[in-house]
């Protein structure tokens, strides 16, 4: 690829590092496993089926698209697998089987390959697919899951009574909140892989340690939500409204902040840009949680900041040494 784009090779010495795309991608996929395990443990084996369906559909679509475009088929590099896993993690545990299949195909074919494939997409494929599914199948994505549980489709291995609501971020008054301990472990309602804060933190911190994820995005994202949740006047009457700890523990914030907002392709290139990106995500997430119709703002806030990423890159380019101030 490098030769095709006519990239200029610098002078020697050239040191070949051990990092390449498959290594990074499979590491990220590995760090996502604990959260999925907790999801399966809390919500039941059907979650495993959802995850496998997403991954299979994503990989198959990737292979098909690359074949149609006459490119070498690189499904072994793990990028399609990650998209599949991430999509499964933001779906409700009880979705009918066709939703993961359609969603993963949309993510890979429309959001990734019409823009040129790996490294070219502007939006995060998994999140764009989730937003698409929200529009296409609102009933399945937003429904109350109690009925499914009673029908025997969903059952808990542990007998924990978690699956009674779509999200801990309900907006009505008079419902009880979940304890911090349950939120930390993941014993709360939510999507397949977003509930367990500890499992996501483990994976996320390892990625920061390995240098695959810049600390600026998660820190500025979660920090902004924490501060705004404290100071903004909430329009909703839920008891958790102005509880900043509850805000950062509940919902998809941890998953979004560590694994989705930090996507190397769809986030800004500059360090200043990454900070702006994280703060923007935090502001939008809190605004959507407080004032908009949807219960969770993580998905849309990251998509909106993805939209703004090219502009952020454009206006945060570091000045060349000696270039001086641009003339107006």
């Amino acid at each position: 690829m490098a030769n095709e784009r006519g990239l200029i090779v610098s002078t020697s010495p050239h040191i070949r590092g051990p990092e390449d795309i498959p290594r990074v991608m499979w590491t990220v996929a590995g760090t996502l496993v604990p959260a999925g395990l907790v999801g399966v443990y809390v919500f039941g084996y059907y979650c495993l089926f959802v995850i496998l369906l997403c991954v299979a559909s994503a990989v198959a679509t990737e292979a098909l698209c690359q074949r149609l475009r006459g490119q070498p088929i690189t499904v072994n590099d793990g990028s399609a697998v990650i998209t599949g896993i991430l999509l499964a993690y933001v779906l409700p545990p009880s979705v009918p089987w066709y939703i993961p299949v359609v969603g993963a195909a949309f993510a890979i074919a429309i959001v990734k390959h019409t823009f040129g494939g790996l490294g070219n997409n502007i939006w995060n494929p998994a999140l764009a697919a989730r937003a698409f599914l929200q529009v296409a199948y609102p009933a399945s994505i937003n429904s109350d899951w109690r009925s499914l549980k009673e029908a025997g489709i969903l059952y808990n291995i542990t007998g924990v009574d978690a699956v009674t609501r779509a999200t801990p971020l309900f907006k009505e008054a008079g419902m009880e909140t979940y304890s911090y301990a349950n939120l930390l472990f993941g014993n709360v309602p939510g999507c397949v892989g977003e509930t367990s804060v500890i499992a996501l933190l483990l994976g996320g911190l390892y990625l920061i340690y390995r240098g695959y994820v810049d600390w600026r995005v998660p820190v500025s994202y979660i920090g902004t939500v924490f501060v705004l949740a404290m100071v903004l006047p909430a329009k909703i009457e839920a008891p958790w409204a102005n509880d900043p700890v509850y805000h950062i523990l509940a919902g998809g914030l941890m998953l979004g902040a560590f694994f989705m907002a930090t996507d190397m392709v769809t986030s800004p290139l500059t360090k200043k840009g990454l900070l702006i990106f994280g703060i923007g995500c935090g502001v939008l997430t809190t605004l959507i949680r407080f004032y908009a119709a949807y219960p969770e703002g993580v998905c849309y806030s990251i998509l909106l900041m993805n939209t703004a990423t090219p502009l952020i890159d454009r206006y945060t380019q570091p000045k060349l040494l000696g270039a001086g101030k641009a003339k107006k």
């Binding site: 475009r69 429309i110 959001v111 390959h113 019409t114 823009f115 040129g116 494939g117 070219n120 502007i122 939006w123 764009a128 937003a131 698409f132 929200q134 529009v135 939008l284 605004l287 959507i288 004032y291 908009a292 119709a293 949807y294 703002g297 998905c299 849309y300 806030s301 998509l303 909106l304 993805n306 939209t307 703004a308 990423t309 090219p310 502009l311 890159d313 454009r314």
Partner: protein, 216 residues
Amino acid sequence: MEIGLGNLFTIIISVVFVNNFVLARFLGLCPFLGVTQKTESAMGMGMAVTFVMTLASAVTWFIYNYLLLPGEHNLFGVLFPTIKETGMIDVLKTISYILVIATLVQLVETVMRKTSPALYEGLGIYLPLITTNCAVLGVALLGTTNAPARLSLLEASVQGFAAGIGFLIAMLLMSGIRERLAVLNVPRSFQGVPIAFISTALMALAFMGFSGMVSW
């Protein structure tokens, strides 16, 4: 009528984000796709449209409320008491609004040709085409309907201005994306307008996050 600041704020948030003219109502797509290849021209177009929208909203408000709207204080209402039954108001609305918009566009064109010829050349045919930009006519019509509530002059003007700002924001975001699209490895059959439409659709999906933020 009491004009609350909160009301104006609601209008602004609604028109800029929740019901963005391009990304939620899908109006004004021709300049949105036509002049967003470069950020500079997108900026110029956005400002020109904002100017036209603001003034058009104010002027058409006067036309509607003091000429067209049937009633004892209005010219046509007095001259032709049966005008409401004939349905002529809607026809006159469209014609007179387009006339106002065309005049304003002519003004913008004259000023821009004198002050920034480069931008004038860059926008080309899309500058006079603001006249037929459905977003401009749309905001004028929205500002002079009686539903959900009759707007005051200030509210109508603010709505026009905010609609322009929403248009400007959408144009800027799109131009950033399209400047990046130019260097991406887009398959040949998707290059140009197809990928721009797909981008617009995904932007609209992202903007759905604002839905329900205000009820207007």
